[in-house]
């Protein structure tokens, strides 16, 4: 019984939350349109959380993802302003993410700073750069090419209601692609297995021939790349960029991974579980907004649910001893 609760507790929670909203918002909540809407709302957070799972598999953190997302958005917007074509601007922005991630990786694996401290430092640095190059101002739509901002509005047509097509938003597709890529990487490649080995016991992994330094270095690079992707998605969606746009991403992404970790037997971060973590956060946010719950109350609720989920899984583990 306890075992079942521990294993499926988070899933039961998700179902309960969905049922709750279904009953309380009968007209709009359980509709395809709303679910597609949720998928788009969480897509940026999802990409960040999926790639965050990569470093968390090694038992590390990246606190700088939010400010990296802001910086990447600003870089893209400024590149558009400077007249760069869309692919070039995207490439530039993504390289900033990759390089920023490598900086984190180098600090952690070659300099030997704790990830918490190293990425706390770069969080501030990236954010500072975002403010510096943007002059602290939001860069608005006129400079952003329609081809870029149109991406976030378009999608794959699914079916027709009346004369309106219901679309699967490209942003959601992108999040699913990120999920697939990270899932293959972590679960089906030698690379991913070694990351989990580092998380299990870094010293044992090193002595068994795992290149711990290189792997940590590169994994942080991938997380930086994911954060930059999320920043681009955000810029595309709101057709503007401001230096604080990504500020909420980091805590939510880590929360999603933690929620996911409560679902696995050994408490390891698994990307499919992170997906469910994202689902909880997205559904809560969407449902509570529709019920017009005050956003501060929403924060209190979401925070409490995270603590509840993690506490119940940790307590059930304690009782096993």
């Amino acid at each position: 019984m306890i075992r079942a609760i521990r294993k499926y507790g988070t899933l039961i929670g998700i179902v309960a939350v969905i049922l709750f909203f279904w009953i309380n918002i009968p007209d709009t909540f359980m509709t395809a349109r709303n679910w597609l809407n949720i998928s788009q709302q969480v897509s940026m957070l999802a990409v960040t959380a999926f790639t965050m799972t990569i470093v968390m598999a090694m038992g590390d953190f990246d606190l700088s993802v939010g400010s990296m997302a802001s910086l990447a958005g600003i870089v893209a917007a400024l590149a558009f302003k400077a007249g760069l074509p869309v692919p070039a601007a995207i490439a530039l922005s993504l390289s900033v993410g990759l390089v920023g991630g490598f900086v984190n990786g180098a600090l952690v694996s070659f300099v030997g700073i704790l990830p918490f401290v190293a990425t706390l430092g770069t969080l501030t640095v990236f954010s500072g750069f975002a403010f510096l190059i943007s002059g602290g101002k939001t860069i608005f739509g006129t400079d952003i090419p329609a081809g870029f901002s149109g991406f976030a509005r378009a999608g794959i047509p699914l079916f027709q209601i009346g004369d309106q097509w219901v679309l699967l938003p490209y942003l959601s597709v992108l999040a699913l692609v990120a999920l697939l890529l990270v899932w293959v990487l972590l679960e089906h490649t030698v690379y991913g297995r070694r990351l989990y080995a580092i998380g299990g016991n870094a010293e044992a992994a090193r002595l068994a021939g795992v290149r711990v330094r290189f792997l940590r270095f590169s994994a942080f690079g991938l997380t930086g790349l994911g954060a930059a992707t999320a920043g681009l998605m955000y810029t595309s969606r709101v057709a503007s960029a401001n230096p604080t746009q990504g500020s909420g991403l980091m805590l939510s992404a880590i929360a999603a991974v933690f929620l996911g970790m409560t679902m696995s037997e050994e408490g390891e971060p698994r990307v499919l579980a992170t997906f469910f973590g994202i689902l909880i956060l997205g559904v809560l946010d969407n449902g509570l907004t529709q019920m017009s719950v005050d956003s501060y109350v929403r924060e209190i609720l979401v925070g409490s649910i995270i603590i509840l989920a993690v506490a119940s899984s940790s307590l059930s583990k304690l009782s096993q001893r």
């Binding site: 297995r193 299990g200 002595l207 068994a208």
Partner: protein
Amino acid sequence: MLETSRLAKSYAGVPALKNGSLAVVGGEVHALMGENGAGKSTLIRILAGATAPDDGTILIEGVPVAIESPLKSRRLGFRFIHQELSIIPELSVAENLFLGRPYPRRFGFLADWNELNRRALSALNALDIRHIDPSLKMARLSIGDQMLVKIAAAFLDDGGEAARLYVMDEPTAALTSAESEHLFKVIAGLKARGRSVIYVSHRMDEVMNIADRVSVLRDGETVATSAISDISKADLIQLMTGRRISDAYPARTSAAGPNSVLRVAQASSRSVRQVSFDLRAGEILGVTGLSGAGQSELLRLVIGADKRIDGDLEFTGQALKASDTPAERWASRIAYVPRERRREGLLPRAPVVENTVLAHLRSLSRFGLLCNRRAELLASMEIASRVKLKSTGGRQPVFQLSGGNQQKVVLARAILGSPKLLLLDEPTRGVDVAAKFDIHTLIRQLAESGVAILLASSDLSELIGMADRVMIMREGRQVAVVPTDGLTPSTLLGISFGEPA
């Protein structure tokens, strides 16, 4: 003094102890022996108040007692010294000694460090330990010295609760011969003061030397209690295993090959100084010395875990680069079993399969990239049966396995890639007799099949029984390389201490 009869304890319906009967008289060293899983730990946990028995009685001086908590156990005068070091490296020796006890105070609330250090010093001196400064950080001590501090902590008498029984669970597992000798002196002193010791060890020679009587547990039952003088090693092994295993080490049946596998020339690292030797295919070279003499570090130098700062390494005729990491060394088919299996060897929460294939993920993968779980499982199961691993299957997390089986997992990983050179650091430490025999047999088979083996060990009879030659190290330097033919543990120990070879 202490008598337990028919103690029983089951975990989830599986009996761990069925008939734990033990009678310890005052002033004796009573050895408790048995294979891993025979019920020794459960019996000890009951005495420590960590677990309540399902059945059975405990009598102290003829009076029945219930030990419902560790505190009660302490009040009854029981003290426990565990094999696992639980120390806090950041704190000083004195603080570790008095951990959980009230510190001396100044003005009622400030810790009086001078007084604490003074008391610690006298506690150490009482055990004739005079080389440890109590104000040093615990982390700066060797493992053996840390163990001595933990032992001293168990000997502290506080608040009139005089200790009368010490339970030592493999106290010498991490100690060198010299440090063990020190402990034995301490034990003799305790005996002289009329205190009793329950001594758990897998080391037969130790038990024969220091114990007065021995009780043997098998499958949760006490199968025999006997005076040490009335029993032979062979009898003990038969009692423990229920079958007769030759105490002798598996003998070599063919000579080492002519080809040099590893040539070490004047190699130095931070803790190894100018070591040179030649290791041939099929040869077992033992490495020993006092603790911290550089044996482990020599192996770490060869696997590339410690940086080489001078000298040359040549493996099957090719120079090994100083910049190599363990990854390159494993790839060139050098395998390594580290000294601390839990800290350096295992992914404790990961299953057996993941642990065994860890060093071979690439060779077992598709196109060097995608994991092939089926191939991994097959390879792992095949190697597990070769090392005679006892587990519920490949999916069992290794932290659930006994010490001997955990060691077999690390060993399985090492031999999975059919290495040409095998580096073994204390491969049978804390391993029960049957598993030890399995491991020795396996090492012998590997050597016969042409694998060159570097075997670091503090178990001198193991070195003499298994190795062709033994290198003795002192302070990072090699002092001698001697053939094992006709070698005795005492000459080996003598050389470690500095007598001429």
